[in-house]
Amino acid sequence: MSVFYFVAFLSIFFALMTIFTKNPVHSVLYLVITFFTFTVHYILLNAQFLAVVNFIVYMGAIMVLFLFVLMLLNLNKDTEPLKSNLVKFMGVIAGMCLLVTLAASFRLLQISDPVVLKNPDIGLVSNLGKVLFSDFLLPFEISSILLLTAMVGAVLLAKNDPKKV
């Protein structure tokens, strides 16, 4: 139980670091750590498949992509012109408001059932695979279109057109 709270604390801490650190590269690194804590959460929930995917896709692919772009564009220095403190303050206040209203609307202060792992198998690859390829076959197939779109698009946009139009 306490593990959860500890990891959760870490997650929040590094998430905050991510958004408050000036240097973008540091941000990315903090984000990686945050994602790592998420992986821990998945493991705690016995969602093994997701833990693995999260580890690979997020920490691996996506984060690397971010870093890559940062480096590509040579943005590793903290050159970002900071928003004025007022804007920051407003942003934080707005975020807090959002949190409060979210919490209030979920009635989070009421006592709720504990999370109980009724079926330890659901997070396992075999089980998930079954669901994915039976019930969720169509979305699975369709998401290929999404990825294809993204691929085509990314190439289209990022490519430096040789011909100047």
Binding site: G95, C97, A104, S105
Partner: protein
Amino acid sequence: MIDLIWLIPLLPLVGFLLNGLGRNVLSKPLVGLLGSGVVLASFLLSCGVFAEVYTARQAGEPAVFIQSVFEWIAAGSLEVSLSFLVDPLSAIMLLIVTGIGFLIHVYSIGYMKHDAGFAKFFAFLNLFVFFMLVLVLGSNYAVMFIGWEGVGLCSYLLIGFWFKNKEFASAGKKAFVMNRIGDLSFLIAVFLIFNTFGTLEFTGVFPQAAGMAMGDTTLLLVTLLLFVAATGKSAQIPLFTWLPDAMAGPTPVSALIHAATMVTAGIYMIARSNILFTLSPVTLQIVAAIGICTALLAAAIAITQNDIKKVLAYSTVSQLGYMFLGLGVGAFTGAFFHVITHAFFKALLFLGAGSVIHAMGDEQDMRHMGGLKKHLPITYVTMLVATIAIAGIPPLSGFFSKDEILAHAFSANKLLWVLGFVGALFTAFYMFRLLSLTFFGKFRGTTEQADHLHESPASMTVPLIILAVLSAVGGLLNVPSALGGGQALANFLSPVFADSAAVTGPFHLDHSTEYVLMAVSAVGAIVMAVVAYRQYAVKGTVPKADDAPRGVLAKLSYHKFYVDELYDTLVVRPLNALSVFFYRIVDRAGIDGLVNGLGKRVGESAQGIRLLQNGNVGSYIFMMVIAAVLILAFGVFNG
């Protein structure tokens, strides 16, 4: 003959149409012939109708004939048919309108000979006769109103006949508008009558009214409204100022419309509605008061006027005042009698004045006349007759009619008689002043005018002579019993006023008193005539120039008591200012400004909202977060 009533008004209408449409085709003589011919035909028909009425009266019948032409307006319980009513009252009016109308048509052939709008003139004149006949013949208030307004229109057209002169045109407009004020009152009265009696037919209204109580409020209202209408048409205080201005029209017009016929419509209408008035004594008192005031005021103005037609115009107003006085004191027959005699001599006076003006080459200022006696003998003689008649010197017609009114006034209220007598003195004075200044003394015009002086052609003088005869003997129609007369007119008209007479009882005045009154007024008139003659004919006094200094009273009189100016300040200018105020301030700046301002506000608020769209993703997202927070907050309180 009675079946042909509808032809009486129709003929002049036909004349109007023919002359109006063919004005470029028909030759002048033909136009004249046509114009007068149709009126003559109407006159002959009227004579026939009159004869039948007369016969019926002799047989002791009330002699009321109604002829319905077609249903005009019908809506719900309101049914107005275009129908004509002939009774003794309208029969006489028919004769006056067509008879004098015919004479004036004939006169106009000569008078207007050189005018470019000859055919137009005759067309309008015919149209006028048509409307006047409709007024007279109408068997209900609505049809009467047709004529009532129609004559106003013709008056407008004819006053502004020489429209190129702006003032003439304005005079026409003034006449029309002032008449319309009365007309509105007439209309409201009509509505009130309809609401009260459920009909507008005279034969339906009067019997019902006769059954109502004395001093009934509705009747009071109706009669007051009708009286206001009459003040407009018959030029009484406060709506009299148009009549003197109306002299802008050609003189035959002044004679026909503004002396003999149209202006008496008010008296005719009240005489028609006599039972309504008899039953509301308050109105009658007001009528009498207004009548006498008008008579005096106009007479006082007439004394100092120098324009020959203006004098006659004020004289007309004054005489009309007498007629109202007569109505007010219940002398319906007397008032109507005065209508008749006045028609004779006032038409004659105007035509005579026209003859003078004609001879003088359109000069109207008496200060430039004088000594015309020898150049215009017929005109002089006929006008002399008319002057004596209007001055109330026996035995000419005016004496009898005026005397009857004064006798009634005396029995009603001594003060009214005194005032009426004073007015009669004024009348004698200004009429003889006019006569003296015009025909006696030395000629004061230019030599050019002197060379031009000539007696008018026969077409003009013959009507003068006929009218002179009528003016002279018209009084015989209703010689009072005190003088051994048979009161023929009164007897003839008695069914018309029967209801009123039943209410008021028979009029009675000692013969001795009557003799005294007659003597006093006759002597007074003769004295004033002599005074005027001595002053202006013998001494040869010429009225002062316009800008010469005058005494206060003379100045007031000369400037017509500043009534026009008063109206201008009190009504016309404020209205015009109001118009500008309404337009510029209320309409454009106010209401329209409000509308436009609304548009502007919309634009401004749009600019405000536009600021939110500042192109900054951060702020967009910020606002989205705020919105999401609000929505969730709503969920918290509502969920």
